[in-house]
Amino acid sequence: MTRVTNASRRDTDDLPAVIERVVTLTVNGRPHTLRLDTRVTLLDALRDRLGLTGTKKGCDQGACGACTVHLDGRRVLACLTLAAQAEGRDVTTIEGVSGTDGHPHPVQQAFMEHDGFQCGFCTPGQIMSAMALMAEGRTGSDEEIREFMSGNLCRCGAYPNIVAAIREAAARGGHDARL
């Protein structure tokens, strides 16, 4: 399904400016078929093509965790995943975690109650990571929460409140978190 624009790359010193591919992404349960430059990451496809700007672009090099999404129920970094690699897999973003009734997810609720953010930029990634953390069963202690949340950086330093929010969400039975 790869379409090469311009001349074949083997005929020139330079590659064509754009090589496109049709990709079908299933995001929050809905399929989307897009024609994408092969270089487009899952993160850019979500934000720039599907308008799902809840997933944030922080470092864009796999260091900060702001772009954390779930792929087949596991937390991954959308900035280091090609959109084409996500084809045939279930992508869940922060837009897909609230209930059908519009109520926040219990983890979102706990973040609000504990003020688990300041500027809020890292928050969607923190919440996606925290939901996965609970499903992984890694909320046994504050130490464990900190260790297994270490891939999500918060420049505002809201860590104590983030840990408190996760501790409470887990205590409320957050293991049933929808993934």
Partner: protein, 329 residues
Amino acid sequence: MRAFDYVRATDTREAVRLLADDPEASCLAGGTTQLDLMKDGVLQPPRLIDITRLPLHGIERRDESLHVGALVTMEELAADTTVAERLPMVRESLLLGASVQLRNMATIGGNLLQRTRCRYFRDPTVPECNKRAPGSGCAAVQGAARMHAVLGASERCIALHASDLAVALVALDALVHIQGPTGSRTVPLTEFYLTADVSPERETVLEHAELITGVEIPLPPPAARSGYLKVRDRTSYEFALASAAVQLVLDDGTILEARVALGGVGTKPWRAHAAEHLLTGAPATTATFTEAAEATMQDAWTVPGTAFKVPLARRTLVRELQTVSGVTA
């Protein structure tokens, strides 16, 4: 990023053929090194072969060895029951590396082939890098070296191999299973890596069209005790300044068998044969441990920024030998 053709391989032979057909093509697995370096412009393959759908995802115990498919993720291997019960050193090395998100992406084959974190290698605007441009020199030797190597290092290159897992695996004499255009072969991990003082531009014995299909880990004897200690600038989610993988079999205060490897200090995951030789048959005492650590680090090649790693690595190894043996005297 340079444009590239994306091809998804569906079986291993096809992937090898696609690689053999295109000398510039690269494989894409977890992508945590490959895409990162493509964004930086360090790697510019015209074609990426996505191998993540190949049937190399299994973990299987056969007698006293564990066969791990190349596409098993770091998190999957860490969660395996045989790893938890028989290979605690492997489990620790996995869980002390990267973050959960990265470990859900990164594969075992890709982990072994991860590229150095050297900031000069990763910045194509720096002209001197014998890895990127053989013969151009090494900017790190005169530069801000800290996260760099002191073993297998020279003025040609001091790029660190940053894997934790590979350190545990070289200590355990793991085997790498490889498939190429003309068949398959098996290489001991201790012979898989080349050092940067010999060939900065070539890091492993893997040929272009060869693919790692799996790793075979011999299970230690039940009496063995092991552990992995990682020393770093922050508690979590950071590369090692120095690390030690240690496995001992002890009998009444005497070391019957020792396996030792160091991370954070080598241009490859560093098996410490000299230390093992000194430890084997010796009494398990801090004096023995210190002697072994000194022997391991005596060939270190340092620049001002990396000199601290020699005593740090010595102490790291002594500490882990003490921890694993339970002997602090």
